[in-house]
């Protein structure tokens, strides 16, 4: 795979060095905190084992087909000399408007990176705190769950705006800076030497760390004889016992579809970029299925067996109502503190757990930088160090915004809802329409099967054209109906939320302008032609 021949790009075009490399990179992009924290919480709150039925249906009908479509379009765009979404979309749909939809595919990973790196720093920070013993110290253990809740609130500065910049909280800023340096070091080294090489090491390491924690959790037995229900089997039952009556609730189906969607990273603008570094005859079907299945391994097998059972064993049924952050950063540290044996045991497993989450986060965050780097390079002829510097400044500004407006995590939450949730659905819808209607499923099937090692059943193509867009619209409408009133109210009630919306709008406007300029350059170079020319 490692060669410099391209389908139309310039000299020195980046490409994946191996088949497993791109698979691990895409899987790394998909596997993140959501696999270990969001999925278990969603399942526990939405019918336990019954949740897996709509979950797997969504995987087969929505997730994997969309994945295949994105891989196919990405590779196709790459063979035409484009690695960024604006250029790729223009190759898929030879219309002047196409590149502007690509701006959304740049905006999503860019804005998500701005808060995701903060969460990544939380994981690294907690891992460091476990090394130093701060999270298993006698004083915090004595306070019980409340102590860990307070620790988290102080650690992330959620008490008031600007708390992270006050004198007593510079540790988090230092860890964020470290995370930034790590991310940009990897991205600067490029696709082959940076991202691929790192993921080839990081993904197996993640599996090993998770398996160590899994074995520990499954061998906990019944730590407190006074609470015989709070055992390993009780924890597994809390997670997996099906509440079939929940299947009659639309909210359960919505939650399952949303989880699959967010988990597989479709509609992020990342897979389409990563796939563009494939050669014309590199397989996308088996690769797409493999990376999706690896994501499911981390989610269903590891996430499903570790998080909720561990939390339930020590904290009981109340953990079922916890959100992602509360589960990960409040409940689980409490779990590690209560683990049988000397404090060193909890210290060790706490470190392993949060370091694993950090690795999961960084393989995701580094993938969020590459789409914009690719755009700056091919849109403006910038070299890597220049594009990395510009991207670094933009993301630093956004990250600083998130860190400053930390009261109630309002900036993070606002970015996550409008860009990391709503806009994600929108982009996935755009991509499914581009594939199904602009590119065409006949051409899509031919393109997908070029170099493929397994076949896509024909009905999947029909689903991509007719079923997936409708499914996405239903899920998007349902998601907005459920959540929009709350977030819309926040804009008027909370100046920081309004400021976050304005920040998002400013980023979008900036990207649209840049796409316009880049489009003109491409037209002048003869790289971009339209059907109406």
């Amino acid at each position: 795979m490692a060669n410099q021949e391209t389908g139309g790009g310039g000299a020195g075009k980046e490409q994946w060095a191996s088949r497993i490399g791109v698979i691990l990179a895409v899987a790394g992009s998909a596997v993140g905190l959501g696999n270990f924290l969001r999925f278990p919480g969603q399942a526990a709150q939405n019918g336990g084992g019954a949740f897996l039925l709509p979950y797997f249906i969504s995987l087969l009908v929505l997730g994997i087909p969309l994945c295949w479509a994105e891989w196919t379009m990405g590779r196709y765009g790459g063979t035409k000399g484009f690695n960024s979404a604006p250029g790729i979309y223009s190759m898929i749909w030879r219309n002047r408007a196409a590149k502007y939809f690509g701006a959304i595919a740049l905006m999503i990973p860019l804005v998500i990176y701005m808060y995701y790196v903060v969460i990544e720093a939380w994981c690294l920070g907690y891992a460091i705190k476990y090394i130093t013993g701060a999270l298993v110290a006698a004083d915090i253990k004595a306070e019980g769950p409340a102590g860990y809740d307070t620790f988290f609130e102080q650690f992330v500065g959620s008490g008031e705006h600007g708390a992270n910049f006050s004198g007593g909280n510079l540790f988090l800023l230092g860890v964020v800076a470290l995370a930034f340096v790590l991310n940009f070091t990897l991205i600067y080294r490029g696709v082959t030497r940076g991202i691929e090489r790192f993921c080839r090491i990081a993904m197996p390491v993640m599996v090993i760390l998770a398996l160590i924690v899994l074995v520990r959790v499954l061998t906990l037995g019944t730590p407190d004889p006074a609470k015989p229900d709070q055992s390993v089997l009780g924890g597994l039952g809390f997670m997996w016992n099906p509440q079939f009556e929940k299947l009659g609730d639309f909210k359960t189906w919505l939650a399952a579809s949303g989880q699959i969607f967010f988990s597989l990273s479709v509609g992020f603008g990342i897979i389409i970029n990563y796939a563009s570094y494939l050669r014309r005859n590199d397989d996308v079907v088996l690769s797409g299925l493999t990376s999706s299945s690896m994501n499911e391994f981390f989610e269903v097998v590891l996430g499903g067996l570790i998080t909720i059972p561990a939390a339930f064993i020590f904290l009981g049924a109340a953990v079922g109502e916890k959100g992602t952050f509360a589960l990960g950063f409040e409940s689980l540290p409490n779990v590690f503190a209560l683990m049988p044996g000397p404090a060193l045991v909890g210290q060790l497993f706490g470190f392993l757990w949060f370091f694993m989450l950090f690795i999961a986060a960084i393989t995701s965050s580094v993938s969020m930088l590459q789409p914009v780097i690719a755009f700056l390079e091919e849109g403006f002829g910038l070299r890597r160090h220049a594009s990395a510097a510009i991207l670094g400044l933009i993301t630093l500004l956004g990250c600083g915004f998130v860190l400053y407006f930390s009261k109630g995590l309002v900036a993070l939450d606002t970015f996550d809802f409008w860009v990391g949730s709503v806009l994600l659905f929108v982009l996935a819808l755009i991509q499914s329409l581009l594939y199904g209607w602009a590119f065409g499923i006949k051409r899509g099937a031919t393109e997908a099967h070029r170099g493929a090692h397994i076949r896509i059943p024909h009905f999947v193509q029909l689903m991509l054209k007719y079923v997936v867009p409708i499914y996405l619209i239903v899920v998007l409408v349902g998601f907005c109906y459920q959540n929009l009133p709350e977030y819309a109210a926040k804009i008027s009630e909370n100046p920081a939320a309004l400021g976050s919306i304005l920040f998002i709008a400013a980023v979008l406007i900036m990207l649209l302008l840049l796409v316009r300029i880049a489009g003109r350059r491409w037209e002048a170079e003869g790289r971009l032609t339209y059907d109406d020319d």
């Binding site: 060669n3 490029g190 696709v191 089997l233 997996w240 079939f244 009659g248 299925l289 499911e296 090692h453």
Partner: protein
């Protein structure tokens, strides 16, 4: 009593203490299905022949893509 409620009554039987029979079945089927899928995929990937280098490119397996070396 509708179908879902009937099935729920069956699901609540918990001979294994906390984890019901239905829960055990769901857990094993879900995890088993995922493990089968990922094993199949990885087996296919690793059993494929190495990717052929295109004929007109003759060079070392690890080719410098110039990611860093083109710095000013």
């Amino acid at each position: 009593m509708d179908v879902l409620q009937t099935v729920s009554l069956f699901a609540e039987a918990a001979p294994t203490g906390g984890l019901s029979t239905a829960g055990l079945v769901v857990m094993c089927v879900s995890i088993g299905a995922v493990l089968c899928l990922v094993s199949f995929c990885l087996y296919k990937v690793f059993s494929l022949p190495p990717v052929e280098v295109e004929e007109h490119v003759k060079g070392p397996l690890e080719i410098d893509t110039g990611d860093v070396s083109d710095a000013d």
